[in-house]
């Protein structure tokens, strides 16, 4: 019996390790935009509230900070799981490359500390800190959120463009230049692309909730301000995101030609490469289906040479050093999804901007609100697709041209069990998070119109500030 079970339990860990890493990252990356950009939106509302005495904006800011407390906690614990997974799933990667790859994380740690400390001060400080003091305690959260994601992306970018180390004869790292590890060539554009994406996705996610509320007839000032702040942040960010993404694609063309060939579905090196929308690569190396736009991929890769630009094909590297046909198709489809939805979101932002420019107000039509209500989910899908492009496009490498994923994974054969456990736990976590946020929102609505004096932020102005004054005793629930 046990002899029969043993091989059953001993499953090759590599595909499971990849699945678990992909799943936990895909989950965590949804919380990242909220952690990075929601604090900034909250500070905008808070600023309006304090500077202009806008009580709706103030109420919005303090409620957002309460939702943020929940999403930040979930982001903190799911982020911790990722740091466990470096060891649980990729110990051989860390064992060989930790001294270089790990460097950006040392600085990420600093920023995460700063973020966690000041978000606590901000969230818990509403009642008793002075208004502007309180506002300023939110600023480090915004800065640390940006710099923290830059640090993490720097590590990921290093996997795409490894440098800043020398190897000895046995292939081990002999020396490290931490500055060139962090500021690797892929880092500036990749980091900018992710940080701005955080503002795009965070803005659309928050705005979509208020758009849905307005569709249900809650067209009060509170919902309007909530929508305008969040949607404006996203609408300002998305053109920048498109421009940065364009530069990043060109960087990939120049530096990760195989990834670029997968993106553009280019089996053999040629010029005048079409931009194929949808379509798929077949096992025999031909491309079928899809709508080819003649020469566009070449033209976009280098506009100065136009359609004559040569794009390197997948067949320029051996089959075991490039993504498989299936992976190529995933990368290409994810690319199309990112481009398609990204363009759509840009057009929605344009609509919004035009309405402000010509009518001095946000669009009022129900169609706009319906689309706006869906931008949250759409922008998350766009971001996930972009992340799939960069990760699957790097396969089979974990460190581009230095180490393959299969050589990096753990030898523990029980990863399939932890994968199932993680999926079950995260599904429960995701569902509970949504239920909790909805319940909070429902309760806030019931409370509206039920504000007592002591519920106003920054009140009451009772003399405190002495160590001897005990805070009010614990409220007894009856």
């Amino acid at each position: 019996m046990m002899d029969g079970l043993a091989p059953l339990l001993a499953v090759n860990p590599v595909p499971w390790a990849r699945a678990q890493m992909a799943f936990t990252l895909a989950f965590h990356i949804i919380l990242v935009p909220l952690g990075v950009s929601w604090a900034a939106m909250t500070l905008i509302a808070n600023y309006r509230g304090v500077k202009h005495g806008d009580s709706d904006a103030l109420r919005l800011a303090q409620r957002w900070s309460k939702y943020m407390a929940v999403t930040f906690a979930v982001g903190a614990v799911t982020g911790t799981v990722l740091s466990f997974e470096f060891g649980l799933l990729w110990p051989r990667f860390m064992g060989q490359w930790g001294e270089a790859f790990g460097v950006p994380f040392a600085f990420e740690g600093l920023f995460f500390f700063t973020e966690a400390i000041f978000i606590a001060i901000y969230i818990f400080g509403w009642r008793r800190l002075r208004p502007w003091t309180h506002w300023w305690t939110g600023v480090p959260v915004v800065l640390a959120g940006i710099l923290g994601s830059v640090s993490v992306v720097a590590a990921n970018a290093w996997m795409n463009a490894p440098q800043g180390f020398t190897l000895d004869d046995s292939g081990r790292i002999a020396s490290v230049d931490p500055v060139s590890v962090i500021f690797n060539p892929s880092m500036p554009l990749q980091a900018a692309h992710m940080v701005i994406a955080a503002y795009v996705v965070g803005g659309f996610l928050v705005a979509s909730v208020y758009a849905a509320g307005m569709l249900r007839g809650r067209r009060d000032r509170y919902h309007r301000i909530g929508f305008i702040i969040a949607f404006s942040v996203a609408a300002v960010a998305i053109p920048v995101e498109l421009a940065v993404g364009d530069s990043l694609a060109r960087w990939v063309y120049n530096n990760q030609p195989v990834k670029f060939a997968a993106i553009e579905l280019v089996p053999t090196t040629s010029s005048d490469v079409p931009e194929t929308i949808l379509g798929r690569l077949n096992d025999d190396g031909t491309v079928s289906g899809g709508i080819p736009i003649p020469g566009l991929a070449s033209w976009l890769s280098n506009p100065s040479e136009g359609r004559a630009t040569v794009v390197q094909g997948l067949d320029t590297v051996p089959a075991d050093e490039r993504p498989t046909v299936r992976q190529v198709n995933i990368v290409h489809l994810a690319w199309d999804v990112m481009m398609g939805l990204g363009t759509l979101l840009f057009l929605v932002a344009l609509w919004y901007g035009a309405s402000w420019a010509f009518r001095r107000d946000m669009p009022q039509s129900r169609w706009f609100l319906r689309i706006a209500a869906s931008t949250g989910v759409l922008s998350v899908i766009t971001m996930e697709a972009g992340w799939i492009v960069t990760e699957v496009g790097r396969q089979p490498w974990i460190v581009y041209n230095y180490m393959k994923v299969e050589d990096a994974a753990t030898s523990n054969t029980g990863v399939w069990i932890t994968f199932i456990a993680v999926v079950v736990l995260y599904l429960a976590l995701g569902i509970t998070t949504i239920l909790v946020l909805r319940a909070m929102s429902r309760r806030f609505r019931l409370q509206d119109g039920d504000f007592e004096d002591h519920d106003v932020p920054y009140g009451p102005q009772t003399p405190i500030g002495t160590d001897t004054t005990p805070p009010e005793p614990i409220r007894k629930r009856s």
């Binding site: 470096f86 600093l110 966690a116 030898s411």
Partner: protein
């Protein structure tokens, strides 16, 4: 340089133990606070005490991992390959307890509060046990060098790991109860001061007994550790005994402030004693700190990060704790007081 980074790593473990450890211990007391009605008051003190600080305290763990994988990658690979199971349990437990704690305060129904409370409290006991078992595995030399996996079961289910795990749970509960005496006092709740004081006395006693038992177990099961504890680490061990005993006496005599300081010193000394006892090995008797260390460039970057930590993060922490202790961070947002009392109209 490797010595400096190893010392920074040990210091980070000390800070994780005395700050985040107490947050885990708070979960221990939450678990054993009794039914919904009887446990309401202590749970409220616990929620208020760790609410603003637990996430920031938790980051020390991330920092420990980062220093370990960056500065000592070979040892890191060996440790994680070997101790896959306890680390997996700890990771899942950390998700459950963090989410459970954050969610619990947003719900009002007893049924949900109980469920989420269990999600917070049960892993709060299991996670420190796993961490202690991991420490025991390393300290007893069960993790081989060379980025290889040791025994996946025996490495963490063995006498030293058992003592390590039990000691970790006892220490966290001990620290938490001592802190909670202070927090209950800050909230002006004398009943709860006495409640946690009694528990602090028990926890201090249990921690002392487990530590003494540990010495005998180590002598048989972890000889290198034991010889270190009785030689170069002996002054630190003695300091821990003195501080632990005096915190017990101070607790019994109701001198809470001094009791808190000596409890922190006692726990810090336990962690430092472990580090000094297995010096200069990172994996006892197979891999020294010097052999395991990353190249100078990496260690330099970590030293810079550590200096920045002292310059930026430590003052920020000081600010957080100071505001918290002065009661300036009473609760999230402002309108919690109406939750539950406002009826739909």
């Amino acid at each position: 340089m490797s010595t400096v980074v190893a010392a920074a790593l040990l210091l980070a473990i000390v800070l994780y133990a005395v700050f985040a450890g107490a947050d885990f211990g708070a979960g221990f007391w939450d678990l054993f606070a009794g039914g919904a009605r009887r446990g309401e008051e202590p749970r409220e003190v616990i929620a208020r005490a760790i609410g603003p600080v637990w996430e920031a305290n938790h980051v020390w763990l991330i920092f420990i991992f980062v220093v370990l994988w960056t500065a000592f990658p070979e040892a890191y690979a060996s440790i994680w390959l070997t101790l896959f199971v306890p680390f997996t349990i700890a990771a899942l437990g950390i998700v459950l307890r963090g989410a459970g704690f954050a969610f619990r305060k947003t719900v009002t129904r007893t049924r949900y509060r109980r469920l989420l409370g269990a999600a917070f409290a049960i892993p709060s006991v299991i996670v420190p046990y796993c961490m202690g078992a991991v420490a025991g595995a390393v300290a007893s030399g069960r993790v081989p060098a060379g980025g290889r996996a040791g025994d996946p079961v025996n490495s963490w289910i063995n006498p030293t790991s058992t003592i390590g795990g039990v000691l970790a749970v006892a220490v966290t509960a001990y620290l938490a109860s001592v802190y909670l005496v202070h927090d209950a006092g800050r909230l002006g709740d004398d009943t709860m001061v006495e409640y946690f004081r009694r528990r602090a006395v028990s926890a201090a006693t249990v921690t002392g007994i487990v530590s003494i038992a540990g010495i005998f177990v180590f002598a048989a099961d972890a000889t290198y550790l034991a010889s270190g504890l009785t030689s170069r680490a002996l002054p630190v061990v003695a300091l821990s005994v003195v501080c632990g005993t005096s915190s017990l006496v101070l607790l019994m005599r109701n001198t809470h402030r001094a009791a808190r300081l000596s409890a922190v010193a006692a726990v810090a000394a336990i962690v430092v004693a472990w580090g000094v006892a297995q010096w200069d090995y990172i994996l006892p008797e197979t891999l020294t700190i010097d052999q395991a260390a990353a190249p100078a460039g990496t260690l330099g970057a970590l030293a810079v990060a550590t200096v920045l930590l002292v310059v930026i993060v430590v003052p920020s922490f000081a600010l957080l704790y100071r505001l918290d202790q002065r009661g300036l961070l009473p609760e999230e947002g402002v309108d919690d007081t109406t939750i539950g009392t406002s009826a739909p109209r």
